[in-house]
Symmetry: C2
Subunit: 315 residues, 2 copies
């Protein structure tokens, strides 16, 4: 079974690249063929996970764990969040949802393996994320990690955000048209706070739980609060820059079709605020995130670098 | 938001009926509108979960917990397995999979809410199952429950079985046609051991973990082994009788279209062995299950009743 195991080295901060490579090694182990999965299911799952990617979410887990405890083992948790991210992309790309044929420069899962397999590969990846947590940590770590992950990606988090997104796009009928029919900046922020920010926050919180909150001068509540604020800001910054790349990026760099948001009538930041105001907003969010990261202590530097990367990213 | 909250009282053993009603009450709480889900998503999730149903899997959790510890709280675990069961039905019914328009006597989720929402409602239910476990138990219980559940329903369990099922039906192309092209009784048993038996086993094991294995005369390994054997036997018996009902049942009693397996060219027990041999097999599996249940001790009686019910069920 061949895999593509590439992280784009061109723009990411140095430490980030190294960690992303390490994440890939752990993902390979989690998706090992010895687990008794039907071979074609495993192939579809591996296609969804092991393509090129920034590994943004798992690296957040790793860095957060290092802020609080140098010797923590963040890899199972880091792998779990990337499995979840891959599942969400596979399902989002389905014809009934965003109907995309290209992702990370390759055909989407349903294009290669058919719709039925793509749905099931997503389901299996989501399940494997929780199995990976429960299998590889003592209860005192796996239980809070399962809780954070489930909260971040469920109906009140990522999936809820996707529902709102599709509702405004007209693919899901709105139950109460008057209540949801006039989306503005606040609604768009709420949508992405669910769709992107909640998983970013969960990643950071999982990093905290993996380290069992050791070696820190702040109180537990203060820390979780700082992590949440950072997660919300970079989550939103990530989304604004993602929307901007769809307008201004090129297909080769982003690995997906550009201009598709506008064609689909999606609600986006450039569509709502215009390109210039969107760029300004992204810059503001990144500045806020950097300011928060300075309060993390000695392990906070990579978080500053990440905010800088997001402010200037081209893929 | 209206819900149908009915358990068919006609055939289930008495204690079963009471427990199934109690399960419904707990499912109502788990799907409470106060959780911050978009209202139309919650509506789709509630439609999938709160229709009429036997609540077979959650009742297995409750009974197993009572065999081992009278005072255990099995309800969050019982709710979690029904959420998972509902998610699997919603996704199985999708056009790309079994393409069913009727389930439990009502329109299927995608018929009412559209395909995109049905995919997302399934995703949210699967996630909510793990959240329900992680939120409502101490780590020492939730962690092993999450692990059992994930193992039972992932790529090596329920989802893997569904892949095999669709592969033999031709909806998923087989990767190695020679390896999988001549299914016999053994292959069908392996398929349903994954597709149905693995979740049944997980339910029983979760009941054990919820009770923290207290008040028992057998060793932990012996008990888990007995539960696994019982789960495999009734899981398979359930599937054989399900296949038989598709041939001989009527639409009103089963709440779904009959004869559809044959129309779709599905691999079934009556199709493979004929009706008479299938009935004989179901009887044998139930007898074996009853024999195992007698070794459970005083709490084992409902398990005997369940085996009797499965041997004679008409819905």
């Amino acid at each position: 079974m061949s895999t593509v195991n590439i992280v784009d080295r061109t723009c990411l901060p140095f430490q980030w690249q190294e960690l992303a490579f390490e994440v890939n090694g752990h993902l390979e182990k989690v998706l090992d063929p010895s687990q008794g999965f039907p071979s074609n299911l495993l192939q579809a799952m591996r296609h969804g996970v092991l393509g090129p990617g920034k590994r943004l979410r798992p690296v957040l887990v790793v860095l957060a764990s290092r802020v609080f405890h140098a010797k923590a083992n963040p890899w199972p948790a880091a792998s779990a969040v990337e499995l979840v991210h891959a599942y969400s992309l596979i399902h989002d790309d389905l014809p009934a949802m965003d109907d995309d044929d290209l992702r990370r420069g390759r055909p989407t899962c349903h294009k290669l393996f058919g719709e039925a397999m793509a749905i099931l590969a997503g389901d299996a990846l989501l399940t494997l994320a929780f199995e990976t947590l429960a299998k590889n940590y003592p209860s005192s770590i796996s239980a809070p990690c399962c809780l954070e992950l489930a909260r971040g990606i469920g109906g009140a988090g990522m999936v809820g955000g996707q529902v709102q997104d599709l509702m405004w796009e007209g693919k899901i009928p709105s139950e109460s048209p008057l209540g949801e029919s006039l989306p503005g900046e606040q609604e768009l922020e709420r949508l992405h706070s669910r769709k992107t920010g909640a998983l970013f926050q969960a990643c950071l919180r999982m990093g905290y739980h993996v380290s069992q909150g050791q070696k820190t001068e702040n109180s537990r509540e203060d820390l979780l609060d700082l992590l949440d604020q950072y997660g919300q800001n970079i989550g939103l910054a990530f989304q604004v820059t993602d929307d901007l790349l769809d307008v201004e990026g090129n297909c080769q760099a982003t690995g997906k079709r550009v201009g598709k948001d506008a064609r689909k009538g999606k609600l986006t930041y450039p569509g709502l605020l215009g390109t210039e105001r969107s760029k300004h907003l992204a810059g503001e969010l990144c500045s806020r995130a950097k300011e928060i990261a300075t309060q993390f202590g000695p392990g906070g530097l990579p978080f500053v670098e990440l905010a800088d990367f997001l402010a200037t990213r081209d893929h």
